[in-house]
Symmetry: C2
Subunit: 227 residues, 2 copies
DNA sequence: CGGCATCCGGGAAGATACTG
DNA sequence: CAGTATCTTCCCGGATGCCG
């Protein structure tokens, strides 16, 4: 977006010039949990084409939101990583997601990426429900592993080895999403073989109750009928 | 954006389908301070064309973010107004603006709309600087009047009659922006006739110190030089 | 395979003129 | 004042291909 400029000193307008292009904010969302390779980004953003991803990454790099870096050997592969300031966009991403979760047209049954699910937990964590709950939960979705630490009314949720946690759940992230947001009982998913749970099952049961979708706002038809 | 869909249950992706189109978030920003007519919106969004504004308003109305309403007589004019859920986008707008204010490429010397300036005060209010400051400040920019109330470490800033406040500043909103964010002394602006101040000058002086731009993040060149 | 350049079709955004 | 109609421009997205 070089020529289509808002010419407005407002921070919101400037933000739109930085990340208002299609896909840009979703790329940032994917990178909030750590560096990724080009093909990882492409795989987790269904529908993006390679040239658009290339262009967005160039723009984000020029804006100092993303840096392209070569990992030290072994690996020695190029990855894209958020700058510290790029990481500060987390608040923006979470505020956006929380607001949209109330949309009357939001359809939670669509496919969801692993990063989206993790970020949704960070966004939707209800501190007041945590009480004195304390413990660690490991999440394993194929190659991707995360550790959630709950304590003192806080949640930290980062990439890490899941097997050190008090309870480890593994399987499809979509199934876990169904348990958290769709109300499907964990026991049922475990019995069906959709999820594997090792360790403190009660902790996992309490953990998934820390998240829930907010009530939906009235849609346009309801507003016309009776405001 | 009907066909260009992200197909993603992530709230952030859904938000982009609702307000990811060009101009949409700026229209919301303009409406956060109250209903506006079509031509008011057009005037405060420099560069938007009528057909795009029409289309955005239709989409926002279909998404239950905006309602089109006829004001009661006298007036009896059509206005666009945020729904209660649309109003909840304020947090999103403020988070966006705060993040972008740290952009190395942000140029605060561009023109700014009245709504942007008001929203920037809401965004950038530094509660820790307020201390026990208490009082009301009236802001008058042509036909538009606002009242800022500071007290208990809180700021409320809404449309209202400015003349009831402890101090009233009137003139060009761009000049006031220069005083708040550009560090131009109020006394100088008043002497030059750019601003008129009536009432408690000291209160206004303390008031404008409640806001400031955050430090800039390093730009892409600096990151390449030494991370 | 990973990353990037090029070409092309469709559609959204922008500018202008015009109407009720 | 509040939009519509029309035309042009340019971005998005898909396909293909080059290069390491």
């Amino acid at each position: 977006m070089k020529k289509r400029v808002y010419d407005d000193a407002c921070g919101t307008a400037h933000a739109l010039e930085l990340i208002g292009d299609r896909w840009a904010l979703l790329i940032i969302r994917e990178l909030l949990l750590g560096p990724k390779r080009f093909s990882d980004l492409r795989a987790s953003l269904p529908g993006i084409s390679a040239n658009v991803l290339t262009q967005r990454l160039e723009e984000l790099e020029a804006s100092a939101i993303v840096v392209r870096r070569r990992l030290p050997p072994p690996g020695a592969v190029w990855v894209y990583e958020l700058t510290p300031w790029g990481m500060e966009a987390e608040e923006l991403v979470k505020a956006t997601g929380r607001w949209a979760a109330r949309s009357p047209s939001h359809d939670p049954s669509l496919p969801i990426s692993v990063s989206s699910l993790i970020m949704s937990m960070r966004s939707m964590f209800a501190a007041e429900r945590a009480g004195d709950l304390s413990g660690t939960v490991g999440l394993r979705f194929g190659e991707e592993e995360f550790v959630a630490t709950v304590g003192g009314g806080q949640l930290t949720l980062v990439r890490g080895a899941a097997n050190t946690a008090d309870v480890v759940v593994s399987g499809s992230h979509e199934q876990l999403a169904a348990a958290i947001y769709g109300g499907v009982p964990l026991a049922k998913l475990e019995k069906a073989g959709a999820l594997k749970i090792e360790g403190d099952r009660a902790l996992l049961g309490r953990y998934i109750k820390l998240f829930s979708l907010p009530p939906k706002a009235p849609d346009a038809k309801a507003l016309r009928a009776g405001p």
